[in-house]
Each structure stands twice: as C-alpha cells, then as structure tokens.
Symmetry: C2
Amino acid sequence: MRIFIAPLAAALLSSTALAAPPPATGYGIIEGLTTEVGQRLAGTEAEARARDWAVAHLKALGFANVHVEPFDMPVWVRGAETAEVVAPFPQKLVLAALGNSGATPEAGITAEIVGFPSLEALKAAPDAAVKGKIVFVWHRMLATQDGSSYGTYGAIRFSGAAIASKKGAAAMLIRSIGTDHHRVAHTGVTDWGDGVKPIPAAALTVPDAEQLERILARGKSVTLHLTLTPHMTGTHQSGNVIAEVPGTDPSAGIVLIGGHLDSWDLGTGAIDDAAGVAITTTAAKSILDGPRGKRTIRLVWFGAEEPGGFGGLAYAKAHGGEKHALAAEADFGGDKVWGFRASLALPKSPLRDDLTARLNLIGVEPRPGAAHGGTDVGPMVVKGTPVIDLEQDGTRYFEIHHTADDTLDKIDPVQLAQAIEAWSIMLRTVVDSDDPLAPLPPRQEQE
Amino acid sequence: MRIFIAPLAAALLSSTALAAPPPATGYGIIEGLTTEVGQRLAGTEAEARARDWAVAHLKALGFANVHVEPFDMPVWVRGAETAEVVAPFPQKLVLAALGNSGATPEAGITAEIVGFPSLEALKAAPDAAVKGKIVFVWHRMLATQDGSSYGTYGAIRFSGAAIASKKGAAAMLIRSIGTDHHRVAHTGVTDWGDGVKPIPAAALTVPDAEQLERILARGKSVTLHLTLTPHMTGTHQSGNVIAEVPGTDPSAGIVLIGGHLDSWDLGTGAIDDAAGVAITTTAAKSILDGPRGKRTIRLVWFGAEEPGGFGGLAYAKAHGGEKHALAAEADFGGDKVWGFRASLALPKSPLRDDLTARLNLIGVEPRPGAAHGGTDVGPMVVKGTPVIDLEQDGTRYFEIHHTADDTLDKIDPVQLAQAIEAWSIMLRTVVDSDDPLAPLPPRQEQE
C-alpha cells in the first residue's frame, strides 16, 4: 500500500503562510455547499443560490472562464404527504412523493390496497384487479458494491406508476428503492411516458413498506387514506456552472468532467452530488496547480440532473459541436474508487495501459465491459465521446440516496481523499496522454 | 459457550402437532403488537387498542387473573412541527416536539438563535443573553454498553427547557439525545417543574443539530422560524394490564415483573418497549409451562410509562400494601443481557450465588453496585422491594430510542432469544429461592 497525501491535505499544508485561508477543496466544498446552501432542488431559488456559491468558489480557486450557462426546465415541487391505514389496523405510515407525482384532492383519497411483490407481478395483473385501488409494489433490494441492484429495482420507481395508471389505479405506492431500515423515504423521478395520466405516486420508507406487507399478509382487506399534494410550478431557470483548466494544445480536445449541483429537496445532497462536484473540482485543481497539461479540462457543475438530466442535455446542445477528447462524471457518492472502465477508440490505447499502471498504485483495477458515464455526460457519450468511469464503492450509497439522510455526516473523509487521488491520477494521465482520443461511433442510446 | 434452545424455539418445536398455531411468544409478541396496533401513545385510543390486544393475548397464552386496572392521566399530543433557518442560509430543519412542550402561535415565531455547547453553559449564561431568543443546546453523546451516556446527557432534554424558560427564552431546541446520524428526531418528556411557563421545546435530529452548529460557527446572527402546535387534551384513561403465574405458596410474596405497553407516537415502540413485554411475558410463560414455582409471578404490561411513569405509580398505589418478594423490569430494548445486579436484604443471599452460577452459563456476570429497577417498578423499589436488574446491551439503544425508527426491523431475534433465556433462568431461580426476600429499608428517592 502506498501512503499518499491527497491534494486537499497538500493544499492545506502549503497554505499555512497565507494570511487568509484558501478556498476550500475536497471535503470543504461538500461542507460549504451543504451548510451554506443546503438542499438545492433544480429550478428553485435554492439552486440559483447554489450557482452563485459555485461561481464565487470556482473563481476563488483560480479556475479560468468561470460562468453560468442558463437553461429553462419544468419544475415539480412537493406538497403535503401523509398516509394512514384506516383498516384493519389504524396507523400512520411515512412516505415521500416521487418526482412528477400527480396529486390527490386536498382532503386525500381512501381506497383499498392491492399489493404486488414485484413490477413483473403488477404487469401481469389484470386491470380489474387494480382499477380504483392503491397499488403497492415491494421488492427485496440488497446492497451491492457496484450499485447493480439499483438497475434491477429502479424500474419499479421509474416505470411502475405509469403501468399502474394505465391499469386504472387510484395511486401508486412503492417500497423505497433503498437498502436501509430507517423511516426516511427515497424519492426520485417517476416517468409517465406519453399520454399517461399522472396519478399520486410515492415511496414508503423501508420499515413502513415492510409494515404494510405484514399487514397485508394477515389476509384482510386493507384500506388506506392517502394525501399527496405536489404540483408543477411551470417553467423556471436552471443552469450549468462551467470552469476550465486551460491546456497548452487547443486542438487536443476538451476533457469534460463534473458532477451535479442540484439535489433532491429532502436532504442536503452531500453524497448526491456535492461529493461529485468536490471530487472532480479538487482533482481539476490539482492539474491547475501543477504543470500545464496538453488538453483543456472543462469542469461542469451540472444543473437539474435529478428531475431528468436537463443540465446534461443543455450542455450537449450548446457544446456538442466542439471537439471533446473525453468525458467522465462523478455521481455515485463520496466513497472509494475500486475499479475503472474506459471506452476508447484505440483497441490498444497507451492511455489504458498508463491508467492501469498508475491507478493500480492506489488499489484501483481495470474492469471488463464498457464505460457509460452518467446522466450528465451521457448525451456527449451517445455522440461518441470517449469515456472513463472511475467506479466508486456503492455499498452504502443506496442507504442514503434521495433521502433526507443525505447529509454531510455521511461523508467519510478518508474514502473521499482516495477518490480525489484516483481522479487526480486519471486527469493527469488523460490531459497528457499520447492517445489521440478520437471519437467512437455514436451509440444508439445511452446504455 | 453453552448452546441453548430459547423457550420460544422450544415452544415452536413442540407445537408442530397442534391444529392451530399457538399464541405468539418472544419475537411474535413484538411483531404482533407493533404490526396490529403500531404506535401506542399513552391515554389515546391506540393505547386502549393495545390493552385489548394484550388481554386477548395473555388469556390465550394461559396466564391467570388477566385483567386491566385503569387509571387517569393528563394527555399531551403532538401538533404541527416545522423549523427553518431564515438567515443567513435559508433551509428547513427536521425536529420533533418534546413531550409537554408548549406551543407557538399557529403562524410560528421568528427569533434569533443563541447556542450553548452544554446544559452547564446554558445555566451559566446571564438572562440577558437568552431573553426573547431561541435557545439551542448541543452535546457530544456517545454510545455506551450500559447506557450511561443517557444519564449524562438526558438532563438536557428533561430539565433544559425549564431552565431556558426561567431565563426568558422564546423557545428551546436541543440536539436529540441520541447516538445515530439519521434525520429522525428523538422525543421524550421535558419537565417544567412548579410554576414554570411551558415554552415551545423540541429536539433537532442529530444531522440537523450539527448543521445548525456549523451555521452558528460561521459567526453571523442566525434567525429561525419555528412552528410547534402541540397541546394538552385533558385527562384520559390509561391502564395496566396484569396477568399472573400462580405459585404454590401465597405467603412467599409476589415476584413483580414487566415492561411498558405504551410507546411514543413516532415509532411503533418495538425496542421501547414491546421488547420488554415480550421478554418478560415469554420468560413468565416458561414458568407457567414448567413445574409450579413457590412464588406467584405477577406480570404487568404497564400503561403510560413514557409521559411520566403513571402506570408504575398507579400500580404502587393499588398494590403497595401487598407482600412483594422481588421486582424486575425490562425496558432497555431487545438486545442481549450481559450483566446483572441484585439488591437483596440478606448480605450473603443464596439467591445471589444461584443467579451467579446459573446466569454465568449463558455469559451473564454479576456487576458491582445497587439494582434500581426502572420507571415502572421504581415506586415499589422505593418502598423497599428487593430488585434485580438484568442489564441489556445498550450500544444500539440510543440510535433508535424515542424516534420514528423504533420499528420491528431493529429487533435482533438472536439477541432477543438470549435475553429471554436470561430472564427465564432468573425467574426460575427467584420463584423457588430459599432466600426469604425480606424487604429492604425504604429508599429516600428513586436512585
């Protein structure tokens, strides 16, 4: 094991002679953003304050070309949300509306619950079994290092409500797509598709979902009173905050990196995704403070990722015609990097060999399969931009993801420093690499 | 290490020939009570439903003399509860009113925060520093096996609001008396003493308290908008549910055991205190199903423990004149028993030696110091009733205590079985012991 001094620690050690403290990097960015702004729901004044915070901070860190690129987006906001079992065992349940959820009347609705153990079981049910009822879908999501269980179960949240609506359901409740056992619900968008009537849709906390499952298992008819009053507030402004580390060779292509500035409204967005902007910014700062690289790094704190990737789409629309050498995104928390994948045009790229050799020094190994980026750089990846994924440990991620529990205390500074080191190594390797980083064929869709 | 078959497991194994499932014991009691009743706030219809559940269940288990002894008590209920930082960093905070909290107007109050790192610091502050402000007291409570940190920090919740009120504070916020890092607040009673004006009083979740502490550390004036609308609903009925295992010698004195049936309103009271009633009931059932003991066991599912120990006081008032050989209470969750203390009149009691020998077989060791019982048997202990404490592991207890997170999933069936085994051994030893179990001198107060 190599002992390393993270860029953050090095910056702090070298700053003792300064009169004023340097602008924070690493953990300090997460601490500052989550404390001084808090939640940053896309398209709201809180996200606008976060952009102001970002611009001031990135300028203070010495980045070039710091600016905001605004765009418009539809904004959904949470209302009241309560649920109570009326019969057979009266009691309140804790839940949170899903993004884009429809609303009940102010006084709520009362209906019978029909439960399904999986999305497949709901799909297979006849409309008559669902019509006029509150659908409840549970599951058995477990924690995985690579986050793959989110792929397996996420469809319940993303697609389930539309399926229930088409069958005539009065409302949709899901077991939170999460691996914890706390009374905090996991929100996230649900998608209606074209022409599907939005119905009230919410996630019960895992303990509440298990409670409802036990109540249903008693075999009696279960009636629920549900009140959800979210609403669409119309079109509002969001924006991407952009900063650069200029390279020596403008023709070598841009290295696009970043995370997202917006968060869901329940927590303060520490792991999702202040961590991502902190990791990418601190790694970019290590290049800014070191020898100039050949390629320019373009760091983006994307807006409006959570409600539908609006920031990534706006970036690709504005900059898709520019030459991009590489894209990489950090949007999987603040824990350690354990693997990497690179999708590059050259079958035997020297970049891949260099990354393998250098990242191995801090325990990061190459993994089979294609890199994908994420929601923010996805639109550029689809166009054929080469992409590297630095894979972070997701074992804890879905305990916290999209909940009120996404707060600063969930950040492990030791693991965060390792992730920053991995990103710093990757960036240094990429900006100077002899691989021409030619584009790949466009992908049919974001995989 | 001895391998043991818990009474629960033994009961299940022996029940396979029955046509209908036997009434649940052990984990099944916790599962049933938390699922079929849920929260059981003292003096409410939910607690009344819990008493009905208890009577039916205890009768089905075959206990003798199953009945309810009602009593009246004042009932406080939660209202709306919201808090938001108005300046310098606008954001919502998550909190829960403390039992007996006063109320703000419906529209809430807006005031400056004054923070203190401890109750001692608040006590030392001049009135002028507090008057008209919202007091915020934080602390550094850590988890301990014996729960001793609750003793250290619990006074902030119990006494802090009255101290703040006397100094003219507009309201009192505390960091939750808990050791977790989740956005669930820890409620519990606060005491006003005589003639002190109740002010709004609430606990911030630990992450929210740390957030407010960080905001205050920026050195700017911090303004909060606070709405709390709890109220006293008047006098309502609670009750103790009583069941017995008759002994062969009525003159040998009653062995009083139990836990409390009521819970706070936020969780379903799995660890506090369905676990306690399950442990004591299942241990008593092992005596009921075994050879008759000399002493009668009186099992009490106490009502209204949380808001002020009303059930324990009502029991002592009704039964204080009867001969009690021993009192013991389970009100510290469902985790394993690791030590015991016994306060007995005989300096060299054979009971102590027998308990030491038998409990040691399952890893439970004697500990120095006096036994105290708890809130429910406390009024009998003060009168001089001998008392045994079976000490459960409290390391996890204050992660969950008095929160919405007190739900069934927090019960570890393996540790619960060990606690039931320890209680079964203790009861068998006590009911047949040759120690006359004479009363001790009355205690000056509940220690």
